[in-house]
């Protein structure tokens, strides 16, 4: 049985323009110790999925349909008190910008100890000891002095390590990392990703890594979901998705990577932009930007179906496959 299973999740926002749907029936699963990536452009709904799992969707948005099964129980209906036992305890989350994630007026130590004491009745002394150990584990030099530091006294990379350490304190079953490296320098990014990978392996921890950066996903995750306009359009083993994508959008994303170009060639941008929540096209949301689109794509919402081991939500996935095979021959 999967550790975490999301079924047909819908998240909606009432607004001046009517009801906006941020997640339109998303389903996926995560096994224990597995590392899953969720990629997509901004606005695709990836962070929304993460927040929904922990029931942290900000009002007035709310989960309107679907189930979230964690260790066999449906937590989408949990009360706040029940959720609190899970948040920061069994499922931890880290956010994008470590400067904004840590409270500027509280020391690192305070923010670590409280995470422990919220979920177990241990002494201050014990909590401090565990916290310093964790700081050491994420490779923070002189953890004792860092314990008493304020967030602004640390560099960006160190801060993100602190945030990761906080997430690890309670030995959670799953860590959800929402764009953990986007706000960091490129050199630090690699270090943080390597750290995450190592920690997940050492602690047999599940990881859901949310990012818009395919390169990040390829380094760390075993499986990946590609999201577009609130739905999953492709899913499968990371290496396969990246080397052999089946959905036109995924294909476009990979082709758009600068590494794919020969010098002097123009970049292969996907024409158009992701639709905003109040202007989602009917049928397949990608069809206005897709070169294979026909009237069926305009009317009928494609469901995920298996193709060569990946799940693809496209009416013309076979055509794309044939084209690619033709191109390589």
């Amino acid at each position: 049985m999967a550790l975490l299973e999301v079924k047909d999740l819908r998240v909606e926002f009432p607004s001046r323009h009517g009801v906006l749907t941020a997640l339109r029936g998303v389903s996926f699963f995560l096994n224990a110790g597995e590392r899953l990536g969720i990629v997509g452009e901004s606005g695709a709904g990836k962070s929304m999925a993460a927040f929904a799992i922990l029931n942290l969707v900000s009002a007035p948005g709310r989960i309107t349909a679907g189930q979230i099964l964690f260790e066999g129980r449906d937590i989408s209906n949990f009360t706040d008190t029940q959720m609190r036992a899970i948040r920061g305890n069994r499922i931890s989350m880290i956010f994008q910008d470590p400067m904004m994630t840590l409270n500027p007026v509280l020391t690192v130590g305070v923010q670590m100890v409280e995470a422990l004491k919220a979920h177990s009745s241990i002494s201050d002394y014990e909590a401090k000891r565990i916290s310093i150990d964790k700081l050491r584990e994420v490779a923070i030099p002189s953890p004792e002095s860092r314990f008493d530091a304020y967030p602004h006294e640390l560099s960006g990379g160190l801060r993100q390590r602190v945030v990761i350490a906080i997430a690890l304190l309670t030995d959670p079953a799953v860590i959800i990392a929402d764009e953990p490296t986007t706000a960091l320098d490129v050199t630090i990014q690699a270090e943080i990703l390597a750290l995450l990978l190592e920690l997940c392996r050492n602690h047999d921890m599940g990881l859901i890594l949310i990012t818009h950066d395919l390169a990040v996903v390829s380094q760390v995750t075993q499986r990946v979901l590609v999201m577009y306009a609130g739905r999953i359009v492709e899913e499968g083993v990371t290496r396969t998705i990246i080397t052999d994508p089946h959905h036109p959008y995924t294909h476009g994303l990979i082709a758009a990577l600068p590494q794919q170009n020969k010098p002097g060639e123009p970049l292969n941008q996907i024409p158009g932009t992701m639709p905003s929540l109040d202007a989602v096209p009917p049928g397949c949301a990608f069809h206005p930007r897709c070169e294979f689109a026909d009237s069926r794509c305009h009317e009928e919402l494609p469901e995920l179906r298996p193709i060569d081991g990946s799940g693809v939500a496209c009416h013309h996935a076979e055509r794309l496959r044939e084209l690619k095979q033709g191109a390589t021959e």
Binding site: D80, A85, L102, N103, P104, V105, A115
Partner: protein
């Protein structure tokens, strides 16, 4: 922060404070120089011009400006701010006698302001859609629109004139403490007398701070670090009253510092309506009587209070806000 940094900061602030006091004293002295004629108060009309000049010489009134100013300063530091024309007593002594009354009034008003605005502001931020929140915000805009003296007049009219419940003027019975401080807090009569003036004095500050705290707190509640606190599974009380409130109150301390001067001005208004025997009421009477030494002495004393409280607020702010750099930067 290290204590050496703190000491350096304090010394710098102290230097600034002294500088400001010098400026105030210069302003005060210049006013005194040009306002009223001390001679007129001392001698009658029938004194000859020659005798007047001689008197002026003897009193040092014909000396150059800087000499007179220096004399003024040295006198002031020793506590001599001139002699009140009306009371025929040292001006400083007259003012200080009224200080306890004003101080207790301000203290009572501050209790009300802090005790009401912090809980209300926090509550309105956490539950902005509730009936109480909306009602509070609605009432607060009315509160801001009623000047202090009108609140005072209305309170008197309703509770003293019409209902006869509360006294309308003075401090009531006071008790003199061993070191000379006359307090109204130790008698029931004194307490009933301070209630309405304190409410009037707090009436404009209260809506201001409620709105301020609510606004700041609502912004803080939207930050990533508060979201992270929720994601850690912390109890709501901790998130609201530690994570959020500490960040909320830091800018509020700044605002409070700036409002101190206004509060002192409002005490003049309140004391006038309630005939509260404090420094503000004294000042107004001195203005009406053109009692120059008393006017100047009041300006200097108020200036000193302003400088001292501002410095204290600055220091508190620096201690509370860990992001403030002490060396090389001003708070």
């Amino acid at each position: 922060m290290k204590s050496a940094d703190l000491a350096a900061f304090l010394i710098r602030r102290l230097g600034q404070a002294i500088l400001v006091m010098l400026v105030i004293s210069l302003v005060g002295f210049s006013i005194q120089d040009n306002l009223g004629d001390p001679l007129r108060e001392l001698v009658g009309q029938s004194v000859s011009e020659a005798e007047r000049q001689a008197l002026r010489d003897r009193m040092g009134l014909n000396d150059p400006f800087l000499v007179q100013y220096w004399r003024f300063l040295t006198d002031a530091i020793q506590g001599d701010l001139g002699t009140s024309y009306f009371f025929k007593k040292p001006a400083l002594e007259v003012i200080l006698a009224k200080f306890p009354a004003t101080f207790e009034l301000v203290l009572a008003a501050t209790f009300i302001i802090v005790g009401v605005s912090v809980p209300m502001g926090v509550y309105c931020a956490i539950k902005p859609e509730s009936f109480i929140s909306r009602a509070t915000m609605g009432i607060s805009i009315i509160g801001i629109s009623i000047p202090v003296f009108l609140t005072a007049i209305f309170l008197i009219y309703i509770f003293s004139v019409q209902l006869g419940w509360m006294p309308s003027f003075g401090r009531g019975e006071t008790v003199t403490l061993p070191w000379g401080w006359r307090t109204g807090f130790l008698t029931a009569d004194g307490l009933t007398h301070i209630v309405m003036p304190a409410i009037a004095l707090s009436s404009i500050m209260l809506p201001l701070f409620i709105r301020l705290i609510r606004g700041e707190m609502m912004e803080v509640l939207r930050t990533e670090y508060v979201r992270f606190a929720w994601a850690k599974g912390l109890a709501p009380r901790r998130v609201w009253f530690l994570h959020a409130l500490k960040n909320t109150l830091i800018p509020v301390i700044s605002v409070a510092g700036v409002q101190i001067g206004t509060l002192i001005a409002y005490t003049i208004l309140t004391e006038t309506v309630f005939q509260w025997p404090g420094m503000g009421f004294l000042f107004l009477e001195a203005v009406n009587r053109v009692d120059t030494p008393l006017i100047i002495a009041y300006i200097i004393v108020v200036g000193l209070i302003f400088v001292v409280t501002n410095t204290i607020v600055d220091v508190i702010y620096t201690l509370v806000n860990p992001m403030v750099k002490i060396i090389g930067g001003d708070a």
